[in-house]
């Protein structure tokens, strides 16, 4: 079980979002978001569908562009400057609901592509590192296969390893287990818990409340594009303050 009461107070701030707004056309999808994330902190984001969870974490690596406010990641502010965006993207790993592996490349090539082309790591070194991460996600024997030949759970573990190969300082997860069959969810969550234990800064959009309780320092509840409530898992689940949080929790805990 990872250390839950990490003294985040005196850790360095790695993501700092202040007064951030985003619109899709006229639709105000994120409203006045303020969020500080400390180095090593693990945050679980939950909320009803359409509340803006994905959009929020996608703003952090500029898959979506915000229109107002500031986002500073690891000391670099996200602006139109493409160089900054590339720097931030190479420091921030992202895992998607649909895995998004590159189907035309083998597992090993999926893992070594970014280190070779972005970090300029020599091929042999990149492959060695990739094999280490494949060991860590427990599928080294699949390295020569193509993504289409793997199960969903295996693909998602490859996707996690692919992000880790860039040695990111932050990992973003957008519902990493939602597209998986129940028996595969655990194998992916195990990998994520192991990653949490290693001290990675993680922002995870998920409805796996067991994972939140076990791993998160903070649980954030979003609704209608706003952060409604943020608290440590214990208080969040047992003592929710906002009515909307209570309603949401009662709905998801029914299942």
């Amino acid at each position: 079980m990872p250390e839950n009461n990490l003294s985040t107070a005196n850790a360095e701030t790695i993501i700092s979002i202040t007064g951030m707004h985003k619109w899709f056309g006229d639709f105000h999808v994120l409203k006045d978001i303020d969020l500080e994330v400390k180095q090593g902190e693990r945050i679980v984001i939950c909320g009803p569908s359409g509340s803006g969870k994905s959009t929020l974490i996608r703003c952090i690596n500029r898959l979506e562009e915000h229109q107002q406010g500031t986002i500073v990641v690891d000391g670099t502010e996200l602006t139109q400057d493409l160089k900054n965006i590339e720097i931030i993207r190479s420091e921030v790993g992202m895992v998607f609901q649909q895995f998004n592996l590159f189907p035309h490349l083998t597992v090993l090539e999926n893992l070594t592509l970014a280190p070779i082309w972005v970090r300029k790591t020599p091929k042999a070194e990149a492959e060695e590192m990739a094999m280490q991460y494949l060991e860590r996600v427990k599928i080294p024997e699949q390295s020569k296969k193509y993504p289409g030949q793997l199960s969903g759970g295996q693909q998602q573990r490859v996707a996690i390893a692919r992000s880790l190969c860039m040695n990111p300082r932050i990992m973003l997860f957008d519902e990493p287990t939602s597209a998986l069959d129940p028996e595969m969810i655990k194998e992916v969550l195990d990998v994520m818990i192991e990653l949490a234990e290693s001290g990675m800064t993680m922002l995870v959009v998920t409805h796996e409340m067991g994972f939140a309780t076990a791993v998160a320092h903070r649980v954030i509840f979003m609704d209608g594009g706003e952060i409604i409530e943020a608290n440590d898992p214990d208080n969040f689940f047992n003592n929710p303050q906002n009515d909307r949080t209570k309603l949401f929790l009662s709905q998801i805990l029914q299942h």
């Binding site: 720097i87 993207r89 590159f102 035309h104 970014a114 082309w117």
Partner: protein, 375 residues
């Protein structure tokens, strides 16, 4: 119905051969050729057609044909009945002319050399796992320029006017130029059309839609006549060059639309995954997006290449002498007058071999590139 079925203990059933009535040549004939009265009628009709067409054809092409003769009279003199067989001596005698056109005799080695390097360039591009693949590709990229120098001369080689080029040489020049330049231009146009920059994308859209809205033959007429109005007076701009440009532009527009289709077939997730790993636009396209988009596009791309290759014969209309043009000119030669059957069969075989190999290669490539199930 089998009368008795032998029973085996549960779990010990051996593999048995299938019932005789469903396999074997007789069963195949029955199910495929005579399964119904209509099917039987069609089978008999087809057999009758084959019987009336194939033996005379074989007779004409092979059995009664003459391969060595001075002219058509000589050909017919060698047959029991005049015109009963093909006079292949016509094709053999004209073969050199059909291949090189009016290219000067002393310089023909340059054409041969170009064909040989062309083969190396094609192998260099198409063959996977070639040692030094990068240099092969560079070489193939340089090929059109090397070939242009070899064929047209200059820089130490005797200059040959483009009007001397004809026949298969001309057909291949137009085909290869169109194919090799239209692919990169088409890809750039497709990317441009999808660009977020409105100016760039509208230029690409206008270009593509304009070209696709106009028949190739019109563009060729533009090339042969109108282009001279736009050029500064007195400047000469070679007709072959103009035709090559038009054919390439025409082809590029089609390739662009095919590649755009391929790009649209990719999920947004592929772009996002590439972005999230820190790959910039060019790297993402080169390593992730285009390989997949082009893979989906191989069959339609090869398809347009095949049509282009056949459409090169249209240059005949603006007075360029490709293989069809030369052949027709030769038909008027008093010595070989009227041997149209032989000529067109030869031309058909030439085009068939070229197009069929392209088609086989594309099937081969598709199989090689398929990687497990798609999701």
């Amino acid at each position: 119905m089998p009368l008795e079925q032998k029973k085996y203990p549960v779990g010990a059933h051996p593999d048995l051969p299938p019932p005789v009535s469903t396999t074997g040549p007789l069963a195949w004939i029955k199910t495929n050729l005579f399964s119904s009265p209509l099917n039987t009628a069609l089978t008999i009709l087809s057999l009758w057609l084959l019987w009336t067409i194939v033996p005379p054809f074989i007779n004409w092409v092979f059995l009664e044909s003459i391969w060595d003769a001075a002219d058509r009279k000589d050909c017919w003199a060698q047959m029991p009945n005049p015109r009963e067989g093909a006079c292949w001596a016509f094709i053999i005698g004209s073969f050199e002319f059909f291949v090189y056109g009016w290219y000067p005799d002393t310089e023909k080695w340059r054409v041969n050399l170009s064909f040989i390097i062309l083969i190396f360039a094609i192998v260099g591009v198409l063959k996977e796992k070639l040692p030094g693949k990068k240099y092969w590709l560079l070489f193939a990229g340089a090929f059109p320029f090397i070939a242009a120098w070899l064929l047209l001369g200059g820089f130490g080689l005797k200059e040959v006017e483009t009007s001397k080029i004809g026949g298969i040489l001309l057909t291949v020049i137009i085909g290869i130029t169109g194919i090799s330049f239209s692919l990169p231009i088409g890809i750039v146009l497709a990317l441009g059309r999808r660009s977020k920059m409105p100016a760039l994308s509208s230029v690409c859209v206008i270009f593509i839609e304009f070209i696709r809205g106009v028949p190739l033959i019109t563009l060729l007429f533009v090339a042969s006549t109108m282009l001279t109005y736009f050029l500064p007076p007195g400047s000469t701009f070679d007709l072959l060059m103009r035709v090559l440009i038009m054919v390439t532009l025409f082809q590029s527009a089609y390739i662009a639309e095919i590649v755009r289709g391929g790009l649209q077939g990719l999920s947004q997730g592929q772009y996002e995954a590439a972005d999230s790993l820190g790959l910039n636009y060019w790297k993402a396209h080169r390593l992730i997006i285009l390989p997949q988009a082009l893979k989906i596009s191989i069959p339609p791309i090869v398809n347009t290449f095949i049509s282009l290759f056949k459409d090169t014969t249209l240059v005949l209309i603006i007075g360029m002498m490709d293989i069809v043009g030369l052949g027709r000119a030769r038909l008027n030669d008093p010595y070989w007058l009227g041997l149209a059957g032989e000529l067109y069969l030869f031309i058909a075989i030439f085009f068939f071999i070229c197009c069929f190999s392209m088609s086989r290669y594309s099937i081969n490539l598709e199989n090689k590139l398929s990687t497990g199930r798609r999701d």
